[in-house]
């Protein structure tokens, strides 16, 4: 796969279709893969990687890249393409300046999941069909890929690649996903338990803004939390209120636009399950206003700028509550 992608990247550059391509390169550690722009065959041959740790969603980078003049090539995994389309709907990405290549994905891995499987001293990981060959300080070990997947890939909602000029690998389909199970578990708790759960999670927030910076939906020219005149400016999780405020408003601002790509939780250094906030909105929207997947359909009106005359009343929140 990696070689096919690299070949395509080189072809795009050399045929003149693109002036540069957006891909992934290894960072400090093998599992620390970062997005990068490549402008020459040499750079690609030297640095370009595609493997089980290329979780980063490249579509957000296209907002800036598509405005720099010339055409940019980009490799997008299925879930990235939802963001890609959503950002086009919002006129953030200029599609005429992008040459998108869809790459099928077998699910991205999480180094912590590998460690949790009891494998220590990991040096590198190699894909071998459905399993991983893990090189460690203590010799090689084999592990089912499924066991190493990140949470978001374990509950992958779709392998479908949208809106790309060409594909590498097979086109996939939407698939049933258990991604709302955790939300449902939380909903089933008492308010006290939920409150305690979220205090436990959100109190760890250090306001590094990684979630905001990585989120494709959080692409505002200026964030309200950075704007002194917005009335919501805050730069540090000064107390529990501001921890709550930041995450509630952030989730609200991306509600109806969040494709559930899961980048927020991936990058959170404190391992706060931020996707559970976004998924709550998605679940509510699906249940109250009908199924909606952000980015899936270029023409569908996003639920928060849409309505039906017979939408449920806000009291539905009180009425359907499972706990008194």
């Amino acid at each position: 796969m990696q070689e096919r992608i690299k070949a395509k990247a080189i072809e795009l550059l050399e045929s003149g279709v693109c002036g540069r391509v957006l891909g992934w390169k290894t960072g400090e550690f093998f599992y620390d893969v970062t997005p990068a722009v490549f402008e020459s065959r040499e750079e690609i041959e030297r640095d370009f990687v595609f493997g089980p740790f290329c979780g980063a969603n490249l579509s957000k980078y296209l907002i800036a890249e598509s405005r720099k003049g010339g055409k940019v090539g980009a490799f997008l995994k299925p879930c990235d393409t939802y963001s890609f389309q959503q950002l086009q709907k919002e006129h953030r990405i200029l599609p005429e300046n992008v040459y998108a290549v869809g790459v099928q994905c077998g699910g991205m891995c999480d180094i912590d999941a590998i460690r949790a499987a009891g494998i220590k001293g990991v040096l590198d990981v190699e894909e071998q069909g459905d399993s991983l060959l893990v090189h460690t300080l203590y010799g090689d070990k084999s592990l089912d890929r499924a066991a190493a997947l990140s949470e978001r890939c374990r509950v992958c909602k779709s392998k479908k690649i949208l809106g790309c000029a060409e594909l590498i690998g097979e086109q996939g389909e939407e698939q049933p996903s258990a991604r709302f199970e955790q939300v449902a578990e939380l909903e089933a708790m008492t308010p006290e338990e939920r409150f305690a759960f979220w205090r436990g999670e959100l109190s760890r927030c250090i306001r590094c803004n990684a979630c905001r910076n990585v989120c494709p939906a959080c692409s505002c020219e200026k964030c309200v939390f950075d704007n002194p005149s917005s009335g919501a400016e805050n730069k540090a999780p000064a107390n529990s209120f501001e921890e709550n405020l930041f995450h509630i408003i952030r989730a609200f601002h991306v509600a109806g636009r969040c494709t559930d790509c899961g980048e927020c939780s991936r990058v959170c250094p404190q391992h706060i399950p931020l996707h559970l906030l976004n998924r709550k909105f998605i679940k509510d929207i699906n249940e109250l206003y009908g199924p909606y997947q952000a980015g899936a359909d270029m023409d569908a009106k996003p639920p928060l700028v849409n309505f039906q005359a017979d939408d449920p009343e806000p009291s539905v929140v009180r009425e359907r509550g499972t706990n008194p």
Partner: protein, 146 residues
Amino acid sequence: MQVNETFKPTVVAFCCNWCSYAGADLAGTNRLQYPADVKIIRIPCSCRLNPLFILRAFQRGADGVILCGCHPGDCHYTTGNYYARRRMTLLFSMLDYLGIERERTRVEWVSAAEGAKFAETMNDFVETVTRLGENRRLEDLRCKSE
């Protein structure tokens, strides 16, 4: 549940200018009593209510926040309350999800003719909020005056 007789909640009522603010005026004209704990903020339409305002109110010490607007279908701006309805439904659901008492937030549709409904709504809401007591789950201690 224990009811603290001396607790006087702070309740912020956002009222749309065309229906509910007029409904509140009608309650006044008809001398229909409701607790002085309710303070009304006039907004042009229920769709003007930003979730930030609600959180801000809780931060600054509100114990309950209620939004009143025209009945769905009767919005002065045709569609504003439909958007407000979705926004508030989702926001309230999120607050509930975070374990914040869902009874502290409410939306009621009150027309300009429903002075009595306005007063009843406020009486009922203040009673509910009083029963819940002081808002502890979404407060900012730095903003407390005492």
